[in-house]
Amino acid sequence: MIATRSERYVGHLFLLALMIFTVLPFVSIFVTALHPSGSLPSGFEWPAEPQWGNFLEAFRVAEMGQLVVSSSLIVLGVVPVSIALSTMAGFAIGLLRIPGARWLLLLFVFGLTLPFEGIVIPLYYLAREIGILNTRFAIVLPLIGLFMPFGVFWMRAHFANMPVEITESARVDGASTWDLFQRIHIPLARAPIASLAILLSIWTWNQFLLALVLVEDPTQRTMAGALGAFQGHYATDIPLLCAGTIVILLPTFLIFVVLQRQLVTALLQGSVKG
């Protein structure tokens, strides 16, 4: 592709500016987190004596160990089930083309536009009624339901694009529908399933509204929910708040560094398809 020198120059400059705009806020809270706990530093000022202990303190008061366990439990409760259900439904709608598939798809797609605020009020009363309010189930069960629109849509797009020959030859060999699904099409769907797993895990980990409304104890919430509670407690202690935010973001950062390519690709595809 042709790109003149001045174009490359402007392009690099622009990218650099965008990068700084993105990263600067993180640098700012990092620097702030090193100031003595309880002090009120300026936004961007290297402290005389960096208080690395703030991170340990934040780790302790945020009950980070418990938070990681809690969020992981919620992710483990939500993601495998969501993937299993949406893969099966996507298979039936996209590949088996059961009667009414088009209507079913529309019904699920409608859910993609639905703001969580639209259903959170009855979810509270439903959770109370079936006795799961203030337990992790109150987050897990509704999230599985809320992920069905995206999951089904995502998996359907994959199955609808599979070459018919694969299905036909398996049928000729006498494969039942279940064999066809489990032996032939699941192995072929590994890539979209992996992307879906990444997306749903992030969205679960970062879910705030449901955690806030349905679970009172921060240590039983998702990471985002716990962070909200942490802010409520330490809003006046800016260095500690910044340190806590960094500590709570740490797992996400690590995963981002390890999976960066897959994450970006998955999130982009996710938005284009969904």
Binding site: T32, F91, P142, P149
Partner: protein
């Protein structure tokens, strides 16, 4: 939803059933796989029905009652809706959510188009791919964290004011999120930070798919950056623009996390948005019916904004 109304997502790009596939389907349906197919969908449909559709219908039902969440409710017809659209305390948040649309949707998408068009020629370079990964970072962290981080940056001693003072604009320095006049744009600023990188990267991948010959032809015709953008780039990324507008519009209208942690809707009701108001009315004030009416209004609002975007960007797209 009617079958002919454009769904909010991409039905067009995944191809319609081809003939042979259809015939296979028909034949197989005869030997009981129709039932099997439904068994495959049933679990997903059950969870969706129980935890999404059922609550949605309940929200609609609640919206016609005056209910405190404990005692028996009283049927009030459309009174809650009448209040939602007349009480300044409730119509205000709706107006605010439309103002947020400018910051969360219009600005990131416009800036994203400009940024993407400037960087897409170098995006495949080593520096380019690192940079696109980095500017994606705000998309991965919880919105709550973005709200906390910017709450500090925009505070009186925060970095935003420091930068302003450094460039001689110290006079306008203030607590941006606490000032009636600037709180909403300041919240909007957080939205820009969260969504700009996402829009830029998404639009840039759209541009990467445009046939390079089109650009060469435009160059031979002597087209400058602007003419090239209008004639080649914009038509080529129509679909991606539609996706960006849809995603960001939902983020604006249904905003909750960022507002909750950065301003809580204040000062006064300067940054109150439907999500915040629904939360306060339903769970703090225990006016469940009123909150539900606002929730139903929000659901409809999102549809009203999104469906035309889908229509416009989907029709005769390549």
């Amino acid at each position: 939803m009617k079958p002919d109304s454009s769904p909010p997502t991409d039905l067009a790009s995944s191809d319609r059933p081809t003939l042979p596939r259809r015939r296979v389907g028909r034949r197989r349906r005869l030997d009981g796989s129709r039932l099997a197919g439904w068994l495959f969908v049933a679990p997903a449909l059950l969870m969706y029905g129980l935890f999404v559709l059922q609550p949605l219908f309940l929200t609609i039902q609640y919206s016609f009652y005056d209910w405190d969440g404990v005692g028996p409710g009283e049927w009030v017809g459309f009174a809650n809706y009448a209040r939602v659209f007349t009480d300044p305390d409730l119509i205000g948040p709706i107006v605010n959510s439309f103002r947020l649309l400018i910051f969360f949707s219009v600005i990131p998408v416009t800036l994203g188009v400009v940024a993407a068009s400037l960087i897409h020629r170098i995006a495949s370079s080593r520096f380019g791919s690192t940079a696109t990964t980095v500017i994606f970072l705000p998309q991965v962290i919880p919105l709550v964290a973005s709200g906390i981080i910017w709450g500090w940056l925009l505070a009186r001693p925060g970095i935003v004011n420091q930068v302003l003072e450094a460039i001689g604009l110290g006079g306008i320095a203030r607590a941006w999120l606490g000032d009636f006049g600037t709180a909403l744009p300041a919240v909007g600023m957080i939205g820009i930070w969260v969504l700009l990188g996402f829009c830029t990267v998404l639009l840039q991948t759209g541009m990467a798919k445009i046939n390079p010959e089109l650009y060469e032809a435009a160059r031979l015709d002597g087209a400058g950056w602007w003419a090239e953008l209008r004639a080649v780039t914009l038509p080529g990324i129509k679909y991606e623009i539609g996706v960006c507008l849809t995603v960001t519009a939902i983020a604006a209208l249904a905003a909750f996390d960022i507002v909750y942690v950065s301003t809580g809707g204040g000062p006064g009701r300067a940054t109150s948005v439907p999500g915040i108001k629904i939360y306060i009315e339903a769970f703090l004030q225990r006016r469940v019916g009123l909150a539900s009416a606002l929730a139903v209004a929000l659901v409809l609002l999102v549809l009203v904004v999104i469906l035309p975007v889908q229509r416009l960007t989907r029709e005769d797209s390549t």
